[in-house]
Symmetry: C2
Subunit: 222 residues, 2 copies
């Protein structure tokens, strides 16, 4: 695969350049932005549904729903009450990139947004390499996936600022140990900010909501 | 990304050529071979642990344990009693390819194998594009991931011959509907052979073991 490396590097540096442009545009508009990544089925869309319900009266939220196929996630977010939701179907590609985000961004009224959340494709490997111009990457890991995953997919956990441990309602149904999960994650990235939540029952989601509101305020310089 | 397409095609056609060589070598030796794919944490390694325990006295099993980082899976399989186990760490790459398999295959005594199972990297997107020379691709989908996944990641379900629906012990903990999961999977690939099992409790695993033994017999022309 040696012959692919120069082109791969060129694509990544072009991606970084575009991501930088996106980042400065969003910061100029004082929008706080997140890139939400995880395995398929870890609960990204459910977390966003709950976030919309809880915060949309207080924060103006824009959502980009990335998917390999189907606009199902975007439709779920619209049903949950999201008003600024854009689907982004990659037609088979395994990650979002900055060029895709640049293509979708003009569909938002950025002067009317406080928070932009990009829901990436369900994939714990490839999206880690592509900066989308976000302020912070948030990785979800769900209890049924196992507490060893930070060690097995380290790049994603190293490059994320926040870990949401989801499906805590399923603790006890497997040998998942929440302290071991945190320890494994922090052995890869000691600075990770960790929330352990259940999107199903709502348990501890308030901590996530509070953090989001703090970050939005800070982005506005309040 | 247009500039990557000719090289991507070249890589894939070189991969197909190598996969063809692997396939004919394995068939000449009358070894039945599987490429096991899924999201991270769907239960590939646990399925293999159970398979080793149940069948190793009757079938000579070789295992290639693919991982992005760590040899944890290979170590688990060795502990489970696997005798012919080879780790294959991709060092960050998101899928196995035929060249990696060609590199590992000489470490096996192929004249003493009946069944070769390749455990791919946990990723429901990229591994679907790479033929490894296996007889059949087997995709695992676990209950906590959601019954919509075949529609959202169609390539993997289209290219697999077998679907193992795992973690049926967690049915009832979410809105996962097993009939809807089967219907979604068959809408993508009507020929899918489906096993609904729980690797944790052992429920219905005997059907999977019987199928494997039938396939091994057929590969030997028995």
């Amino acid at each position: 695969m040696n012959q692919i490396i120069p082109i791969q590097s060129k694509i990544l540096s072009e991606n970084d350049r575009l991501a930088g442009e996106i980042r400065s545009e969003l910061r100029k508009k004082k929008i706080f932005s997140l890139n939400l990544v995880s395995s398929p089925g870890a609960g990204k869309t459910t977390l966003l549904e709950k976030t919309i319900s809880a915060l949309q009266d207080r924060i103006r939220i824009g959502l980009i729903a990335g998917d390999v196929q189907t606009e199902n996630d975007a439709n779920r977010l619209l049903k949950a009450g999201g008003t600024a939701v854009q689907p982004l179907v990659t037609a088979g590609a395994c990650h979002l990139d900055a060029k895709m985000i640049s293509g979708v961004l003009p569909r938002f009224d950025l002067s009317n947004l406080d928070l932009l959340i990009i829901e990436n494709v369900g994939n714990l490997v490839c999206p880690s390499s592509y900066d989308l111009g976000e302020d912070k990457k948030v990785v979800l890991l769900s209890v049924p996936e196992g507490d060893d995953k930070p060690l097995k997919y380290p790049a994603m956990f190293r490059r994320s600022a926040v870990l949401v441990l989801n499906k805590t309602d399923l603790l006890g149904t497997s040998d998942f140990d929440i302290e071991r999960a945190k320890m494994n994650a922090r052995s890869i990235n000691p600075d990770l900010h960790i929330f352990a939540v259940s999107c199903r029952t709502g348990d501890c989601l308030v901590d996530w909501f509070d953090w989001l509101q703090e970050m939005v305020k800070a982005s506005k310089g309040l």
